[in-house]
Symmetry: C2
Subunit: 330 residues, 2 copies
């Protein structure tokens, strides 16, 4: 591999001069500049980023921690961020945490040693203290962190309200909720939104809320049980789209028609929701936008700019699709 020294020799200048033209810093005569550029060309020289990182204490890479990239909710977020970051000259390190606190810590540690310039994290465990003591900026995605750590997410409670109200609106008279994991804040918020709307209904009962763990298979099981035990349930708000798919499957197995017998709505708006039959109604997050904005903010922080907002809430959209849309006409 050719180094800056080789180029200097080839162009008959010092390494400092080469570095200057490389970084467009300081003065350098136009002719020498040309000589250097030609030398670079001839030798096909490419600066060594590791050496540069060592000196500058930055690496032009950022870390992205997700629970599991094979969960359909995350790829779009990552893709969006990568798109922007790549344009800005950054490369991204992908970390799958499985929501395990130890893995997250380990990744953060390793990345610190690699001089990552910042990290984007989807995590429930990250604390204010931890983020603040981390040498590089961190922004939170999907799940906000206490304090004024920048975060990019949606108003999950409002989304829960939106979904549940919609079910009421289309005529559902007994609405169940398949909620996400206890430890996941947004799951609890969505649940709260549901309760906000139906908590005072005469038919409401805590038996209408079951745990689906954001998992399709589990949701299928619990939904099946629920729909069997309470056949008068005519609407289900699932805490995320995967679980909504589980409900669809449960309904199918029970030979219930969606939406005629039971209307189903999910949350997140992943691509999958358009691919099922019936297509799934959902509270849609602008995932690409969320990912992009988080990346933009992180770059701003890296470059020392101040953020105008720390808590960024993105708009939710009610997508009325087949799993609810015909309900009105029943």
């Amino acid at each position: 591999m050719t180094t800056i020294k080789d180029v200097a020799k080839e162009a008959n200048v010092s390494v400092a001069t080469v570095s200057r033209v490389l970084n467009q810093s300081g003065y350098v005569n136009n002719n020498t500049k040309k000589r250097v550029e030609q030398a670079i060309e001839r030798l096909d020289y490419q600066p060594n980023s590791v050496a540069r990182s060592l000196f500058k204490k930055e690496s032009k890479t950022i870390g992205f921690i997700v629970p599991d990239i094979s969960n359909p909710f995350f790829p779009m977020l990552v893709r969006a961020a990568e798109d922007y970051l790549n344009k800005k000259g950054f490369t991204i390190i992908l970390c799958n945490s499985d929501e395990e606190i130890e893995k997250e810590q380990e990744y953060l540690n390793v990345m610190k040693q690699k001089y990552v310039d910042g990290v984007i994290a989807v995590s429930n465990h990250l604390t204010k203290e931890q983020v603040e003591s981390y040498p590089m900026p961190i922004v939170a995605l999907d799940r906000p962190i206490e304090g004024d750590i920048p975060s990019f997410s949606v108003d999950n409670r409002a989304g829960g309200v939106m979904a549940t109200e919609y079910l009421k609106e289309i005529g559902c008279r007994k609405i169940a909720h398949i909620r996400g994991p206890e430890q996941v804040l947004n799951a609890t918020e969505r649940y709260k939104g549901y309760v906000d709307v139906v908590g005072n209904e005469k038919w409401f009962s805590s038996s209408l809320v079951v745990h689906g763990e954001y998992d399709k298979k589990i949701a299928t099981q619990v939904a099946k049980k629920l729909l069997q035990e309470q056949p008068d349930i005519d609407g289900v708000f699932a805490g995320n789209d995967m679980m909504a798919l589980g409900v669809l499957k449960a309904a199918e197995e029970l030979e219930l028609h969606v939406p005629e017998d039971v209307a189903v709505i999910g949350f997140d708006g992943i691509d999958l929701t358009e691919m099922t039959s019936p297509e799934l109604s959902t509270i849609s997050q602008p995932l690409f936008d969320v990912g992009t904005k988080a990346a933009m903010a992180l770059v701003d922080m890296i470059q020392g700019r101040n953020l105008s907002e720390t808590k960024n809430l993105f708009p939710l959209t009610l997508m009325k699709r087949q799993s609810t849309i015909f309900r009105k006409e029943v």
Copy 2:
């Protein structure tokens, strides 16, 4: 950040000694070793990987080039590789190429400068020469590269045969094929497998093959047109699962029943295929295994070991699901 120097001072030894205990290399007295370890503990010292990389010309990171992580085919591959690599102390840089040759080159370049230790690539453009002249080992995923570049994929042609024969077996008498992009080798192989089986049928005609570009929307359109123009088509082999979903949608829009009116089978076996209704029959690839094995091989190469195989073909499994399974009884 505390450095090796700080530790040396704290332990009253030279940096060389600290380095020795860090790397468990060379001789070091048991007592001094203990002193150093205590100093490391006290100062909470963590070696700087960038400095180490500069010297060792390795970074403990590997690059992973995929066309688009938001395409459901890829996350599992990446996840599998990351799992293994993380265990081995590597971190992964994710690159979205969009199948664009320029982006691939750019990523390879950037990663070279970052001293990545190797790369896993899903690419149609990579040539033998390019891979051989690259300073770090590269393995190919999903799409083999000419020469003896290690690759990890499936026998797509055999899979095409398998899918098509299965459709014949269950009684389909006019089978169409929605093929993937012309430039993608595996798409052509799958197409060939289809022709192998039905090319000599009296009903066969090139009009039964249409281009779906591995895209659900496009597949929906072309499938709809095809099924309208040739209503006697009673079986469709889609070149991948996304397009098979498109076919499902097309059938629905035409009010055709799957599998009664037309049987549908896909290819790849992504998770999505179990979530649709009807569930989608498919030729399933062992994606997790493919990703893992590719990562294992890459690590072997990085560590200078010889691979026993360069062309690794993984077994395909015919998944009989609702989109074909009842066909027999018709």
